[in-house]
Amino acid sequence: MINEEALAELRATLEADGYRLDADEVEGRIRVQVSATSEACADCLVPKPVFLGILRNSLGVSEQSIDLTYPADEPS
Protein backbone atom coordinates (compact mmCIF):
# COMPACT_ATOMS: atom_id res chain seq x y z
CA MET A 1 0.00 0.00 0.00
CA ILE A 2 1.36 3.43 -0.93
CA ASN A 3 2.26 5.71 1.96
CA GLU A 4 -0.13 8.56 1.19
CA GLU A 5 1.31 10.78 3.91
CA ALA A 6 4.75 10.58 2.33
CA LEU A 7 3.26 11.19 -1.10
CA ALA A 8 1.48 14.30 0.15
CA GLU A 9 4.80 15.84 1.18
CA LEU A 10 6.29 15.07 -2.22
CA ARG A 11 3.24 16.47 -3.98
CA ALA A 12 3.61 19.72 -2.06
CA THR A 13 7.26 19.98 -3.06
CA LEU A 14 6.50 19.39 -6.73
CA GLU A 15 3.53 21.72 -6.72
CA ALA A 16 5.78 24.54 -5.56
CA ASP A 17 7.51 24.26 -8.96
CA GLY A 18 4.26 23.78 -10.90
CA TYR A 19 4.25 20.01 -11.21
CA ARG A 20 1.65 17.39 -10.35
CA LEU A 21 2.27 13.93 -8.98
CA ASP A 22 0.00 10.93 -9.54
CA ALA A 23 0.74 7.52 -8.11
CA ASP A 24 -0.87 4.12 -7.94
CA GLU A 25 0.13 0.58 -7.22
CA VAL A 26 -0.38 -2.15 -9.77
CA GLU A 27 0.62 -5.76 -9.19
CA GLY A 28 3.25 -4.87 -6.65
CA ARG A 29 4.77 -2.04 -8.66
CA ILE A 30 4.47 1.65 -7.82
CA ARG A 31 3.66 3.81 -10.81
CA VAL A 32 4.50 7.47 -10.34
CA GLN A 33 3.81 10.09 -12.95
CA VAL A 34 5.08 13.65 -12.71
CA SER A 35 3.34 16.04 -15.08
CA ALA A 36 3.84 19.69 -15.81
CA THR A 37 1.05 22.18 -15.23
CA SER A 38 0.83 25.42 -17.17
CA GLU A 39 2.75 27.07 -14.32
CA ALA A 40 5.66 24.65 -14.40
CA CYS A 41 9.21 25.98 -14.28
CA ALA A 42 11.04 23.90 -16.87
CA ASP A 43 14.45 23.86 -15.22
CA CYS A 44 13.21 23.58 -11.67
CA LEU A 45 12.22 19.93 -11.60
CA VAL A 46 14.67 17.90 -9.57
CA PRO A 47 16.64 15.46 -11.78
CA LYS A 48 14.87 12.15 -12.26
CA PRO A 49 17.52 9.97 -10.57
CA VAL A 50 17.36 12.23 -7.53
CA PHE A 51 13.58 12.01 -7.37
CA LEU A 52 13.75 8.25 -7.75
CA GLY A 53 15.97 8.18 -4.67
CA ILE A 54 13.53 10.42 -2.84
CA LEU A 55 10.64 8.09 -3.73
CA ARG A 56 12.64 5.09 -2.54
CA ASN A 57 13.30 6.70 0.83
CA SER A 58 9.86 8.22 1.28
CA LEU A 59 7.85 5.19 0.24
CA GLY A 60 10.18 2.62 1.71
CA VAL A 61 10.39 0.55 -1.46
CA SER A 62 13.21 -0.38 -3.79
CA GLU A 63 13.90 1.78 -6.83
CA GLN A 64 13.46 -1.31 -8.96
CA SER A 65 9.80 -1.48 -7.96
CA ILE A 66 9.08 2.12 -9.00
CA ASP A 67 8.06 3.11 -12.53
CA LEU A 68 8.68 6.85 -12.64
CA THR A 69 7.56 8.92 -15.58
CA TYR A 70 8.72 12.50 -16.04
CA PRO A 71 7.26 15.09 -18.42
CA ALA A 72 10.20 14.59 -20.78
CA ASP A 73 9.33 10.89 -20.99
CA GLU A 74 5.85 11.54 -22.31
CA PRO A 75 5.30 11.35 -26.06
CA SER A 76 4.99 14.82 -27.54
Partner: protein, 178 residues
Protein backbone atom coordinates in the same frame (compact mmCIF):
# COMPACT_ATOMS: atom_id res chain seq x y z
CA UNK B 1 28.89 10.86 -18.94
CA UNK B 2 26.59 10.96 -15.95
CA UNK B 3 26.80 13.90 -13.64
CA UNK B 4 28.32 12.61 -10.44
CA UNK B 5 26.63 15.24 -8.33
CA UNK B 6 23.07 15.30 -9.53
CA UNK B 7 22.95 11.75 -10.74
CA UNK B 8 22.85 9.35 -7.82
CA UNK B 9 24.29 6.63 -10.00
CA UNK B 10 27.50 8.41 -8.98
CA UNK B 11 26.53 7.28 -5.52
CA UNK B 12 29.84 5.94 -4.41
CA UNK B 13 30.32 7.71 -1.09
CA UNK B 14 26.97 7.15 0.57
CA UNK B 15 28.04 6.00 3.99
CA UNK B 16 25.55 7.54 6.38
CA UNK B 17 26.91 10.59 8.16
CA UNK B 18 30.34 10.05 6.63
CA UNK B 19 30.64 13.52 5.12
CA UNK B 20 33.98 15.23 5.39
CA UNK B 21 32.88 18.64 6.57
CA UNK B 22 34.96 21.72 7.19
CA UNK B 23 35.94 22.89 10.62
CA UNK B 24 33.85 26.02 11.29
CA UNK B 25 35.71 29.26 11.94
CA UNK B 26 35.78 30.42 15.52
CA UNK B 27 34.95 33.91 14.33
CA UNK B 28 34.06 35.67 11.10
CA UNK B 29 36.17 38.69 12.03
CA UNK B 30 38.53 39.46 9.18
CA UNK B 31 37.12 36.69 6.98
CA UNK B 32 36.75 36.90 3.22
CA UNK B 33 33.28 35.72 2.27
CA UNK B 34 32.14 34.59 -1.18
CA UNK B 35 28.45 35.22 -1.84
CA UNK B 36 27.59 32.66 -4.50
CA UNK B 37 24.22 33.45 -6.09
CA UNK B 38 22.56 30.93 -8.37
CA UNK B 39 20.61 33.36 -10.64
CA UNK B 40 17.25 32.59 -9.02
CA UNK B 41 15.16 35.71 -8.63
CA UNK B 42 16.23 37.65 -5.52
CA UNK B 43 19.20 35.38 -4.79
CA UNK B 44 21.75 38.10 -5.50
CA UNK B 45 19.91 40.71 -3.48
CA UNK B 46 19.45 38.38 -0.51
CA UNK B 47 23.11 37.40 -0.49
CA UNK B 48 24.37 40.95 -0.94
CA UNK B 49 22.19 42.11 1.94
CA UNK B 50 23.58 39.27 4.01
CA UNK B 51 27.07 40.28 3.01
CA UNK B 52 26.50 43.81 4.24
CA UNK B 53 25.20 42.48 7.55
CA UNK B 54 28.18 40.17 7.92
CA UNK B 55 30.53 43.10 7.38
CA UNK B 56 28.69 45.56 9.62
CA UNK B 57 27.77 43.20 12.44
CA UNK B 58 30.36 40.42 12.41
CA UNK B 59 33.56 42.08 11.31
CA UNK B 60 33.84 40.32 7.97
CA UNK B 61 36.66 41.91 6.00
CA UNK B 62 35.12 41.48 2.58
CA UNK B 63 31.92 39.95 1.15
CA UNK B 64 32.26 39.44 -2.58
CA UNK B 65 29.30 38.65 -4.84
CA UNK B 66 29.71 36.00 -7.52
CA UNK B 67 27.33 33.97 -9.65
CA UNK B 68 26.84 30.36 -10.61
CA UNK B 69 25.30 30.54 -14.05
CA UNK B 70 23.23 27.34 -14.09
CA UNK B 71 21.07 27.10 -10.99
CA UNK B 72 20.13 23.48 -11.57
CA UNK B 73 23.72 22.31 -11.86
CA UNK B 74 26.52 22.05 -9.34
CA UNK B 75 29.11 24.80 -9.25
CA UNK B 76 31.62 24.22 -12.08
CA UNK B 77 34.92 22.70 -10.98
CA UNK B 78 37.00 25.74 -11.94
CA UNK B 79 34.72 28.10 -10.01
CA UNK B 80 34.71 25.72 -7.06
CA UNK B 81 38.50 25.77 -6.97
CA UNK B 82 38.69 29.52 -7.43
CA UNK B 83 36.31 30.20 -4.55
CA UNK B 84 37.76 27.53 -2.29
CA UNK B 85 41.25 28.93 -2.72
CA UNK B 86 40.30 32.60 -2.57
CA UNK B 87 37.84 32.82 0.31
CA UNK B 88 37.51 31.73 3.92
CA UNK B 89 33.81 30.89 3.83
CA UNK B 90 30.98 30.69 1.26
CA UNK B 91 27.33 31.65 1.53
CA UNK B 92 25.22 30.32 -1.33
CA UNK B 93 21.63 30.08 -2.53
CA UNK B 94 18.84 30.46 -2.98
CA UNK B 95 17.51 26.92 -3.27
CA UNK B 96 14.06 28.16 -4.21
CA UNK B 97 13.11 25.25 -6.47
CA UNK B 98 13.58 21.50 -6.64
CA UNK B 99 16.65 21.34 -8.85
CA UNK B 100 18.36 24.41 -7.38
CA UNK B 101 17.84 23.33 -3.77
CA UNK B 102 19.47 20.00 -4.58
CA UNK B 103 22.38 21.62 -6.40
CA UNK B 104 22.82 24.28 -3.70
CA UNK B 105 23.23 21.59 -1.06
CA UNK B 106 25.57 19.66 -3.36
CA UNK B 107 27.64 22.85 -3.67
CA UNK B 108 27.70 23.32 0.09
CA UNK B 109 28.95 19.79 0.62
CA UNK B 110 31.62 20.26 -2.06
CA UNK B 111 32.94 23.43 -0.41
CA UNK B 112 32.91 21.79 3.00
CA UNK B 113 34.83 18.82 1.62
CA UNK B 114 37.48 21.29 0.47
CA UNK B 115 37.70 22.68 3.97
CA UNK B 116 35.63 25.80 3.35
CA UNK B 117 32.70 26.35 5.74
CA UNK B 118 29.57 26.93 3.67
CA UNK B 119 26.11 28.20 4.56
CA UNK B 120 23.45 27.12 2.05
CA UNK B 121 20.10 28.90 1.95
CA UNK B 122 17.02 27.04 0.70
CA UNK B 123 13.35 27.83 0.88
CA UNK B 124 11.37 25.58 3.16
CA UNK B 125 9.23 24.02 0.42
CA UNK B 126 12.28 22.13 -0.80
CA UNK B 127 13.58 20.42 2.32
CA UNK B 128 12.80 17.06 0.71
CA UNK B 129 15.04 17.65 -2.29
CA UNK B 130 17.76 19.37 -0.27
CA UNK B 131 17.88 16.55 2.29
CA UNK B 132 17.86 13.94 -0.45
CA UNK B 133 20.87 15.50 -2.13
CA UNK B 134 22.73 15.70 1.16
CA UNK B 135 22.11 12.01 1.73
CA UNK B 136 23.19 11.16 -1.80
CA UNK B 137 26.42 13.07 -1.25
CA UNK B 138 27.12 11.10 1.91
CA UNK B 139 26.20 14.04 4.15
CA UNK B 140 22.96 12.97 5.80
CA UNK B 141 21.73 15.61 8.20
CA UNK B 142 23.72 18.35 6.47
CA UNK B 143 22.73 21.61 8.15
CA UNK B 144 21.46 24.36 5.86
CA UNK B 145 19.36 27.46 6.40
CA UNK B 146 15.70 27.59 5.43
CA UNK B 147 13.51 30.58 4.72
CA UNK B 148 9.80 30.52 3.85
CA UNK B 149 8.90 29.77 0.22
CA UNK B 150 8.80 31.59 -2.11
CA UNK B 151 11.71 34.00 -2.20
CA UNK B 152 11.42 34.91 -5.88
CA UNK B 153 8.31 37.05 -5.57
CA UNK B 154 9.47 39.17 -2.63
CA UNK B 155 10.01 42.89 -3.04
CA UNK B 156 13.39 44.40 -2.07
CA UNK B 157 12.27 45.39 1.42
CA UNK B 158 10.96 41.89 2.05
CA UNK B 159 14.24 40.42 0.82
CA UNK B 160 16.16 42.64 3.24
CA UNK B 161 13.92 41.42 6.05
CA UNK B 162 14.67 37.82 5.07
CA UNK B 163 18.39 38.55 5.12
CA UNK B 164 18.08 39.77 8.69
CA UNK B 165 16.04 36.72 9.63
CA UNK B 166 18.49 34.15 8.26
CA UNK B 167 21.63 35.97 9.45
CA UNK B 168 21.87 34.30 12.89
CA UNK B 169 21.67 30.79 11.44
CA UNK B 170 24.12 31.61 8.66
CA UNK B 171 26.59 32.83 11.27
CA UNK B 172 25.88 29.81 13.45
CA UNK B 173 26.69 27.41 10.60
CA UNK B 174 29.86 29.22 9.58
CA UNK B 175 31.19 29.52 13.12
CA UNK B 176 29.83 26.30 14.55
CA UNK B 177 28.05 28.22 17.29
CA UNK B 178 24.79 26.92 18.65
Amino acid sequence: MPNAILDPTGRAPTTEDAAVLAQPRATLKGARVALLANTKQNASLLLEELGQLLVSQHGVAEAVPCTKNAFAMPVPEDQLEELASGYDVVVTGVGDCGSCSASAVADGVLFEQRGIPAAVICSDAFRVTADAMAQMRGASGYHYVTTPHPVAILNPDEVRKRANEVLPEVVSILTGAG
